[in-house]
């Protein structure tokens, strides 16, 4: 373990948040996940699986989900939903080239070095394997973006600031509680290509004419 599990103290809150306050957002996440990942069969490694909130979606698609997360607090909830292991996403307890698919859903801003997580995904995916990244939109969500008004965002120069921040326009979300790293768009895309993954399709989603979600599907050649 290289870092403390920030989510341990918020596991119960997060479990409730995703299914209640953030339910419409969670529904859009799952819709985008279905669209990008497509159908199984095979094992799909959920990297940063958290409470296992997306395991049922993977199963619906025909995948057999298995999860890895650093937070034992979150894994207490996940254990009821999928087989899980406690582990660091940047040092996955999985052999090389053994999984047919991998996902990171709403996880990339929770790790200090997403590029190293992507490198691990590239390592464990079997040739031809599929990777879906889905997360907050790097350009429109973060400490640099005031989303108080959903169709009139205010963006400031902290877009270039990659540090961990608790600054948020709302006290009710994830960032104000757990904090978040910021990964600018170029860093995200370069992390995927540096991991040897080939980007196949990109998607954006958001209400009120401004995206708040960014996802992509990539393949290990």
């Amino acid at each position: 373990m290289t870092s403390p599990a920030a989510y341990d103290a918020f596991a119960d809150w997060y479990e409730d948040y995703l299914s209640h306050a953030a339910a419409p957002y969670t529904a859009r996440v799952q819709e985008l996940l279905r669209d990008l990942l497509g159908g199984g069969p095979g094992r799909c490694l959920e990297v940063c699986c958290g409470t296992g909130a997306h395991a049922a979606t993977l199963r619906e698609l025909g995948w057999i989900p298995v999860g890895v997360d650093l937070s034992r607090g979150q894994l207490r909830h996940a254990a009821a939903r999928l087989p899980v292991a406690a582990g660091d996403a940047a040092a996955l307890p999985v052999r090389d080239a053994t999984v047919g698919a991998a996902t990171v859903v709403l996880g990339h801003t929770d790790v200090p070095d997403y590029a190293s997580v992507l490198a691990e995904v590239g390592r464990v995916l079997a040739p031809g394997g599929r990777f879906v990244h889905l997360g907050v939109h790097p350009c429109f969500t973060g400490a640099f973006a005031d989303r108080s008004h959903p169709s009139r965002l205010v963006i400031d120069g902290r877009y270039a600031d990659r540090s961990y921040s608790f600054d948020a326009w709302t006290p009710h979300g994830v960032r104000a509680r757990v904090g978040a790293w910021h990964v600018p768009l170029a860093d995200l895309l370069n992390g995927v290509t540096a991991a040897g993954l080939r980007i196949e399709r990109v998607a954006e989603s958001g209400p009120a004419g401004v995206p708040d979600m960014f996802g992509l599907v990539a393949r290990r050649p």
């Binding site: 965002l153 205010v154 400031d156 902290r158 270039a160 768009l185 370069n190 290509t193 080939r198 401004v210």
Partner: protein, 218 residues
């Protein structure tokens, strides 16, 4: 085919000859993305040939295609160039070692068709360098009057052509600009069969106003 820039060729020529910081930063990014080379390079939507010297600086021999005869009058002094539609290039398949498209993707109605043409004319292993306004932070959906705090309004997904602009002295309110979302831009690259290799963002106040990328024809 009407050429939107015909009526603005002289204005554009003066603007780029003066080399405002934005244009200089775009050129620096182009050099970084293209890298050194020795062969020919298609300057796609070359306009007045404003970036021909930059391409030449990488060691390559630029040649241009643009739809605007008004712009090409200026380009003729800077590089060999022909009149043509970027979505139907007068060039053989697999004939070109490198393609550069600089500050042009919002000037065409279907950038996906242009990138497909670039991929068609590139030879295997050839490089496609794209440099343009940042799709997320520049466009009719972005008000940049306050340089420290940009306002993004809910029309990011409006893909039409727009002349709406926060600035009365810029490009969009004069020539118009097409909105290409980030996903559309990236999907145009990978959808054309190009392999995305590297992406760069640049800005002078922390918010990125230029996005560039290099992709390889496998």
């Amino acid at each position: 085919m009407t050429a939107a820039y015909d009526a603005h060729a002289e204005w554009y020529e003066r603007l780029t000859v003066d080399a405002p910081p934005y244009v200089t930063r775009a050129r620096e990014m182009l050099v970084e993305l293209l890298g050194p080379g020795a062969d020919g390079c298609l300057d796609l939507c070359c306009g007045t040939g404003a970036h021909a010297a930059t391409v030449r600086g990488t060691g390559r021999a630029p040649f241009g295609v643009d739809v605007s005869r008004g712009q090409l009058r200026y380009a003729a002094r800077r590089l060999p160039a022909v009149v043509g539609d970027a979505a139907r290039l007068p060039i053989r398949d697999g004939a070109v070692p490198a393609v550069a498209c600089v500050l042009a993707h919002t000037d065409v109605p279907d950038y996906g068709a242009v990138v497909r043409e670039a991929a068609r004319v590139l030879r295997p292993g050839g490089r496609f360098a794209h440099v343009g306004i940042h799709p997320c932070f520049v466009g009719a959906h972005a008000d940049r009057r306050d340089p420290e705090r940009w306002i993004i309004v809910g029309r990011y997904f409006d893909r039409g052509r727009s002349f709406d602009s926060w600035s009365p002295t810029g490009f969009r309110n004069r020539v118009g600009g097409w909105q290409v979302t980030m996903a559309d831009l990236l999907n145009a690259i990978v959808g054309a069969g190009l392999r995305l290799e590297r992406v760069e963002e640049d800005g002078d106040n922390g918010i990125a106003d230029i996005l560039g990328l290099v992709a390889i024809r496998p």
